[in-house]
């Protein structure tokens, strides 16, 4: 480094040395960014407020003040932590995932997602530019989902204490009073609609880790689904409230695990048809190779709908009219037999049990 000098190239110090100015930490996150002091404020302003800012977030208080909701509405709250490796994968990144995951958890409750708060745990040495890209992605997803990020927190931990970046998001949504939507309201006779092909997110992330030794063009399906869900809810309106009795996004554990949860929660049986489950060719092929079953692979942009049969066609059409639901299919039915169990009708017409995923999904040996 050259000594700092005056305009006519004379050294500033009469002793011949110079006083080193502290380097501005702009390229990498340092522990000081989590100190609560000036660096923290700079980071919040330059990275977060410029991208996610709105009048509530920018107010600068310890808590966000939100407008009151009407007396006919209920509040739905959800929280989700995101620890994906790698942070960027085909089709998305941890920022898009953090917003979509929480938006979807609220939307499947039949609510309209409104506000999100986000907590960031950042590893010392993390590239500031990369953080900016991730927050850009959060901002774009928040805009698409029509929600505001109203509160945030940043902590920096020593190098090695976390894997780059963890994001926790908590969301608030509002729902019309007495809308009976939830796993416990699923009834025998309900049709089950799946909004599109399965397994894309899990396989895209696995692929992005670069451990498989081959490449493919799988992209994650991560997306905020509240738009599509709202269209389905509008189509499902009936005298009893809504023909949609439950919705759920089959994330970790995949469709099989989510259906198992619903069967246990509603004390009903579920029968699905292998033939009608949409799986892309590439996901199917890679799963075959690794010994995975796509029914157990994670999705981040799919939704299962449990619909009273009188409205199945109308709701299915509404879902298919949305970009995220164009490949939607009726995949099965809720039945009274075998309560708490999920059965798969195979392509051969035989039937077998679909268990919940047990522990980690592990690739087979040969």
């Amino acid at each position: 480094m050259q000594p700092i000098s005056s305009s006519d190239n004379e050294p500033l110090s009469i002793l011949g040395g110079y006083c080193p100015i502290p380097l501005p930490h702009q390229e990498k996150i340092v522990l000081g960014h989590g100190s609560g002091g000036k660096l923290t404020h700079d980071l919040i302003h330059s990275i977060f407020q410029t991208r996610l800012g709105n009048s509530v977030l920018n107010s600068g208080n310890d808590g966000a003040v939100l407008p009151s909701i009407g007396k006919d509405d209920e509040i739905i709250v959800s929280v989700d932590s995101h620890v994906v490796t790698p942070l960027f994968f085909p089709g998305g990144d941890i920022g898009k995932l953090a917003i979509s995951g929480t938006v979807n958890d609220i939307a499947v409750m039949g609510a309209i997602p409104k506000y999100i708060s986000a907590g960031f745990i950042i590893e010392e040495g993390f590239q500031t530019e990369t953080l900016g890209q991730i927050i850009d992605s959060m901002a774009a997803t928040a805009k698409e989902a029509n929600i505001l990020v109203v509160a945030g927190d940043t902590k920096v931990v020593e190098k090695g204490k976390c894997d780059g970046l963890y994001i926790t998001t908590s969301g608030i949504g509002v729902r019309q009073n007495n809308l009976l939507i939830g796993g416990q309201f699923v009834k025998p006779g309900d049709d089950i609609i799946l909004s599109g092909s399965i397994g894309d997110h899990g396989m895209a992330v696995l692929q992005a880790r670069g451990e498989l030794g081959f490449e493919s063009k799988i992209t994650s399906d991560v997306a905020p689904l509240n738009g599509m869900i709202q269209m389905a809810l509008n189509a499902g309106k009936n005298d009893q409230g809504n023909a949609i009795h439950a919705m759920r996004d089959p994330t970790r554990g995949g469709v099989a695990t989510t259906l198992s949860e619903i069967a246990q929660q509603s004390k009903t049986g579920i029968v699905i048809n292998e033939k009608s489950i949409p799986v892309s060719e590439i996901v199917q092929s890679i799963c075959e190779m690794l010994g995975f079953d796509p029914l157990y692979v994670a999705n981040e942009g799919k939704c299962l709908f449990f619909v009273s049969p009188q409205k199945t066609e109308t709701v299915l059409e509404a879902i298919r009219n949305h970009d995220y639901g164009k490949d939607a299919q009726v995949i099965g039915k809720v039945v009274a037999d075998n309560p708490g169990k999920v059965l798969l009708k195979t392509i051969l017409g035989s039937t077998h049990l679909l268990e919940m995923l047990s522990g980690e999904m592990l690739p087979r040996i040969c």
Partner: protein
């Protein structure tokens, strides 16, 4: 992979046609053993027993590498993986297999560096990148995984690596078939031989077994149509009283097998007696590293304390692996023994018979 190729082997009409032909010719009950756990899972997953005539009984063979790896070796792996300077690498399936006191997942939770790899060559890469650590690969499996494991040793040698070794537990199919057929309680009347094993080894080892024990052996694949075809061919032979070796997986398997792979195996491994979990020691049923490769043998490299393996007294995995009992005949099945809390390896692996019944069967 070509989806049309794959879906052809899952075509309901083709499969039903073959099933109808089996129904036409079958006159009495027959007991068929599918050797490979991958075939067991396909049978359960596609519900093949539901569409086949009731005269066909499958008993499930020992071809699950995770299931037959001896408890001593699992305990040894746990001890080595627990050492501070070690990166222990393994196929994922092996991590959940219960040892006497803990599994490799528990070692990892206690701070051990245990990593899942997809190939032993990935373990070699880890050894290159971590010269200050001892990198051990858990080299388990049948003839299918042996060539890649042998290649890993050759590659480590070519690279001059001094920090790479493998913990070997290789097992071979033909001696196990002989052991099953020689047992006084044997019920097996025909074998579906394991397609992937034969892809490597060919099926030149089988004619003497078929001749000696008067038993039909059909090399069979893993798709539902493959398995139905294998069953059809064994039933044709059984009904005619024949005992030939046939290849119903000719799109993958040749009589000689993969000669290059066999040569690599021969270069690195030699035949040894091997203890099979739940079954016992079968003479000349395994492979170990040849003396010249002893430096890559984790068994020599690590001073492992005396091991007193302790199986759960309730687990009947041995009888299941030999086809003497069905998983649901075990009182622990699905009650105290589940994939979350397995008493034996057959409840763990994606190829284990108990895991297949637990996952797919309503009869529990």
């Amino acid at each position: 992979m070509d989806k049309t190729l794959l879906s052809g082997f899952r075509d309901a009409d083709l499969i039903q046609t073959r099933v109808n032909e089996i129904k036409k010719i079958i006159t009495r009950p027959w007991v068929i053993m599918e050797i490979c756990g991958g075939q067991t899972h396909a049978i359960m997953k596609y519900g093949l027993e539901q569409i086949l005539p009731s005269e066909v009984e499958f008993i499930h063979g020992p071809g699950c590498p995770v299931c037959v790896t001896s408890l001593e070796l699992v305990d040894k792996a746990v001890q080595i993986a627990s050492q501070p300077n070690v990166i222990f690498t393994s196929y994922g399936d092996m991590l959940r297999v219960p040892g006497s006191s803990q599994d490799l997942f528990a070692v990892r939770a206690n701070g051990g560096d245990v990593r899942v790899v997809y190939s032993p060559l990935d373990a070699v890469k880890i050894a290159i990148n971590n010269p200050e650590k001892e990198v051990v690969f858990f080299a388990i499996g049948f003839e299918t995984t042996a060539p890649a494991n042998a290649m890993a040793v050759l590659q480590a040698h070519a690279l001059g690596l001094n920090n790479f070794s493998i913990l070997v537990s290789h097992v071979c199919v033909p001696p196990a078939m002989r052991a099953i057929l020689s047992s006084p309680s044997n019920r097996v009347q025909a074998f579906l031989a394991a397609g992937h094993v034969c892809a490597v080894m060919g099926y030149w080892e089988y004619p003497p077994i078929a001749a000696e024990f008067h038993i039909p052996i059909v090399v069979t694949g893993f798709e539902p149509l493959d398995i139905i075809e294998g069953v059809y061919r064994t039933i044709v032979q059984l009904e005619k009283g024949e005992h030939k070796v046939e290849n119903a997986y000719s799109r993958v398997v040749t009589f000689e097998g993969n000669r290059a792979a066999q040569a690599v195996i021969k270069q690195v491994f030699e035949i040894c007696d091997r203890k099979w979990r739940g079954i016992g020691t079968i003479p000349a049923s395994g492979w170990k590293l040849k003396q010249e490769w002893a430096k890559y043998d984790a068994d020599n490299r690590f001073d492992v304390k005396a091991i007193n393996p302790l199986e759960s007294p309730l687990c009947i995995a041995g009888q299941i692996l030999q086809g003497m009992k069905k998983p649901f005949e075990c009182p622990a099945f699905g009650t105290i023994c589940t994939p979350e809390n397995p008493l034996g390896a057959t409840m763990v692996s994606s190829e284990g018979a108990c895991a297949a019944y637990y996952q797919y069967s309503l009869n529990r």
